[in-house]
């Protein structure tokens, strides 16, 4: 019996989740009751048992249906993350989004508590299998990108800012993994993972963006022309780093940072990744930005004033930083697409709750056809981008084109889903308490970071450049 047949069989044997409700409730306007002979629910009961494994009415929630289609280990993981997200992020999301913007060095007590919980849960060590990291060996059969996509979607569905707070760390440790520098991984990563596994957060941040370089650090052509602003000067026993990095997610709370700097007198081709500790003399967090959304996570400006970094803190070797950065962008853009799926799902869920609850003219908005049409579009768009992300993340190899197309396509569509959710709530769509406007503000960042969607479109073309050029010859 192949895997697909097994899934069909499993679904066929499942009992409907809403059986008792459906039989007594009045149908939506314009539809027959599910007890009617005209309904697919009744009609499909009559079909041949040979056809039942492939044709059926399934009243199960879409989320549950999707989860059951995942391999067992990933389905389990999805349920675990959903539980965590609903229990710890959802109740805190509105409050932290509206919380006062605190000066550098101060953090909301709820944030500290959540970080500890997430560390204990293994969210800060889930890039590696047990016993080094927190991933069960059986789950590690599946690509990291798929695991991360499942995780960030569920977290983003509850709150973009808290999701980013818990996810930016993985970007920070990525150079230690992608550089292939086992010595650096042993020196810096394993002790940090140990701390995290014990419930004491040791967060990393990833620093590439500079005040004068946003897109230029995301694509080759711009990089080749850019004069680096963060520079490492050779000194006895190490390097002194000078310059600034901006919009660094979690930069203010990270204990360690993987910072990219050019070697003095050279361009970005000399980029080198350095491990910087927050207590190194000369390092400071200049400010945390006031943002449109994702407010629970900081975007910090970091200053390096002749920060001495010993040779042992060079990650992956001198002048290998550009390659490390480009490889990480291939890995990090898929999770951004998955975040977008989470925002779209959060907005869809919020709109669904609203239209089922809110009444106009004595009946729920969901009874009106225009509402049904909009909701159907939102469910379809969300489902489409999730399918794309899951399909694309089923390979261990992330190509630039695939990652980029996921990023720009999913994030653009997710923002539209959020706008549609607000419109469905009409004059109530702008109210914070209805969640859709927050999903929109959070989702809007995904069109910008990890390369603007314009840069990502060009990244796709760069990836198929040889194919295109072959057609020209």
């Amino acid at each position: 019996m192949n895997a697909q047949t097994k899934i069909f069989e499993r679904l066929a044997n499942d009992k409907p989740l809403f059986a008792s409700h459906q039989s007594v409730q009045k149908p939506l306007d314009g539809y027959v009751s599910t007890s009617s002979l005209y309904s697919t629910r009744r009609a499909f009961e009559q079909i041949s048992s040979l056809s039942k494994p492939i044709i059926q009415y399934n009243p199960m929630e879409v989320w549950e249906q999707d989860t059951r289609r995942l391999p067992r280990q990933l389905a389990k993981y999805r349920r675990e993350v959903r539980d965590f997200s609903v229990q710890h992020l959802q109740p805190f999301a509105q409050e932290i989004d509206l919380a006062e913007h605190l000066p550098v060095g101060l953090s909301h007590p709820g944030i500290d508590k959540l970080l500890k919980l997430a560390a204990k849960k293994g969210f800060f060590s889930d890039m590696l299998p047990k016993p080094l990291g927190s991933v069960p060996l059986l789950r590690y059969r599946y690509p990291l990108a798929w695991q991360q996509a499942i995780k960030v979607e569920e977290l983003a569905r509850s709150c973009g800012g808290l999701m980013l707070l818990l996810s930016a760390h993985n970007l920070g440790i990525a150079p230690l993994l992608m550089s292939g520098d086992l010595g650096a991984a042993r020196r810096f990563l394993l002790p940090a993972l140990k701390e995290n596994n014990s419930g004491e957060p040791h967060l990393f941040a990833y620093g590439i963006t500079e005040p004068a370089a946003g897109s230029d650090v995301e694509e080759g052509h711009g990089a080749s022309l850019y004069k680096p602003g963060t520079v490492a000067k050779r000194v006895s026993g190490g390097w002194k780093i000078t310059g600034r990095k901006c919009f660094i997610s979690g930069g203010d709370i990270a204990k360690s940072m993987t910072i990219f700097a050019a070697l003095e007198g050279e361009g970005i081709e000399s980029w080198t990744c350095f491990l910087v500790r927050k207590n190194m003399p000369g390092f400071s967090v200049v400010r945390n930005e006031l943002k449109m959304g994702m407010r629970a996570s900081s975007a910090a400006e970091l200053e390096f004033d002749h920060v001495f970094v010993p040779d042992s803190h060079v990650i992956g070797g001198l002048r290998n930083g550009w390659a490390i950065n480009r490889s990480i962008l291939n890995l990090s853009r898929l999770p951004v697409a998955a975040m977008a799926v989470g925002f779209a799902q959060g907005a869809t869920d919020a709109a669904m709750d609203f239209v089922c609850r809110y009444k106009l003219g004595g009946k729920g908005l969901i009874h009106y056809q225009e509402t049904q049409l909009e909701l159907a579009q939102m469910v379809a768009d969300t489902s489409a981008i999730r399918s794309l992300v899951w399909q694309s993340s089923q390979s261990w190899v992330s190509t630039q084109g695939k990652s980029a197309l996921n990023k720009f396509y999913c994030t653009d569509l997710a923002v539209k889903v959020c706008e549609r959710a607000m419109d469905m709530m009409s004059n109530h769509g702008g109210l914070h308490c209805n969640s859709a406007e927050k999903a929109f503000r959070d989702a809007r960042l995904t069109q910008i970071f990890e390369g603007t969607n314009q840069i990502n479109r060009l990244a796709l073309i760069e990836d198929i450049q040889e194919q295109l050029m072959s057609k020209m010859s």
């Binding site: 946003g214 694509e219 901006c246 004595g362 009106y368 004059n427 503000r441 069109q447």
Partner: protein
């Protein structure tokens, strides 16, 4: 009596608004990431009264929305709101709402209420919209005088303002009274819209919440107390208006509201385009200023084209008086223009890259304000239903 304006008057009035906007309003909004204080807004409102921009009387052509009959005056109101919105949409919306309140009070001939307001102790707010959307097809049928009993039920609910029918309101925190419509009549007769003058302290249950945009103003969800219905409230009913007159007044008020919202959004977009265009000429990426890249040019052109198209449509609408004949055109303009404006504002933000997401750049506020304005008094989908019904009733 209202004195008609000439083109020369318009030029001079626009200059006046320009000076007022740049001299009095702009200095208070120099930091987009910092919310202006309530006192500062109050000062600006008082200045707008002193300058005649908000006027209780209709004898001076200077005031916003002093008449809906003179196309030049309509043009002036639109231009003034755009100018003010290009500095701050929230204050433009507040001026617009006050002007709309006075328009309604004048049309209802409620000089008593007007005197109280002008005495300086009372502050009006207006909530034209029922509790959700545009009441599907029923409001359009009502405005066309073609209601059926189903419409009466739906409109009664729409304008009911009970605990389960909370309406939204954006107004400066100092408001004391609310001018709001209510439906009277029964299934067997023509429904009429009356306007009530409700005392905030005694009649309204209000909760203030956080909203997506227009953060200078208070965001309210309001409804009547459970023991209070429209029939036993201290209502100021437009009993002198026949059903046809009441339809006409509500139609004009709705169109003023839509014109106001569209122009405020347009002025906001104009500001965003200017910021994005200026930034693109300075920011260097890829070895040249970003305005040399087709990707950025496309974004800029989306914003510019949204502005130009909407501007042309509005200018066209300003050629005619606002009355029942203009209802379909003005609702159409709003339906088509607002999604374009929001898209244009989003593209302007995108030009800024990461900087656009930060509050101190000012772009994210533009996007939020434009989106907020799109959600008020009928979203594009609701306007589509509304207009389709106007067509059916022809």
């Amino acid at each position: 009596m209202f004195q008609s304006l000439s083109q020369t008057d318009i030029v001079s009035l626009n200059d006046h608004v320009e000076r007022f906007s740049e001299g009095a309003i702009a200095p208070k909004f120099s930091q987009p990431e910092t919310l202006i204080s309530s006192d500062n807004i109050e000062q600006l409102i008082n200045s707008a009264f002193e300058q005649g921009l908000i006027s209780a009387e209709c004898s001076e052509g200077m005031g916003l929305w002093v008449t809906t009959e003179d196309p030049l005056q309509i043009q002036f109101s639109c231009q003034a709101l755009r100018k003010i919105a290009s500095i701050n949409p929230g204050i433009a919306y507040q001026f617009h709402q006050l002007a709309l309140s006075f328009y309604l009070l004048r049309e209802l001939k409620k000089t008593g209420a007007m005197d109280i307001v002008l005495g300086g102790e009372e502050q009006p707010a207006v909530s034209l919209q029922g509790h959700f959307g545009l009441a599907r097809y029923s409001l359009a049928r009502f405005l066309k005088g073609a209601t059926n009993s189903e419409d009466y039920d739906l409109l009664s609910d729409y304008f009911g303002h009970g605990a389960s029918q909370q309406s939204t309101l954006f107004a400066h925190r100092s408001w004391t009274h609310l001018l709001t419509p209510v439906v009277v009549g029964d299934h067997s007769s023509d429904a009429t819209i009356q306007f009530e003058w409700l005392d905030r302290a005694n009649l309204i249950h209000c909760t203030e919440g956080h909203g997506h945009g227009l953060n200078e103003l208070g965001h309210y969800l309001w409804h009547r107390p459970s023991n209070q219905t429209s029939s036993n409230s201290e209502a100021m009913q437009c009993s002198t208006l026949s059903p046809a007159q009441s339809r006409s007044l509500y139609s004009r008020a709705l169109q003023i509201q839509w014109m106001g919202l569209s122009n405020i959004a347009l002025g906001t977009l104009e500001h965003a385009y200017t910021l994005a265009n200026d930034y693109s000429a300075l920011r260097v990426q890829g070895g040249c200023t970003i305005n040399q890249h087709a990707a950025v040019r496309n974004l800029l052109m989306d914003a510019k084209s949204a502005y130009s198209t909407t501007h042309s449509l509005i200018e066209l609408a300003c050629q005619f008086p606002i009355n029942e004949s203009s209802l379909a055109d003005i609702s159409n303009i709003r339906m088509k223009a607002h999604p374009m404006i929001c898209q244009g504002a989003n593209q302007a933000l995108q030009v800024f890259g990461g900087m656009g997401y930060m509050q101190d750049a000012g772009l994210e506020k533009v996007v939020r304000d434009c989106t907020q304005l799109r959600l008020m008094n009928g979203t594009p989908m609701e306007l589509s239903l509304f207009i389709s019904e106007l067509e059916q009733c022809r």
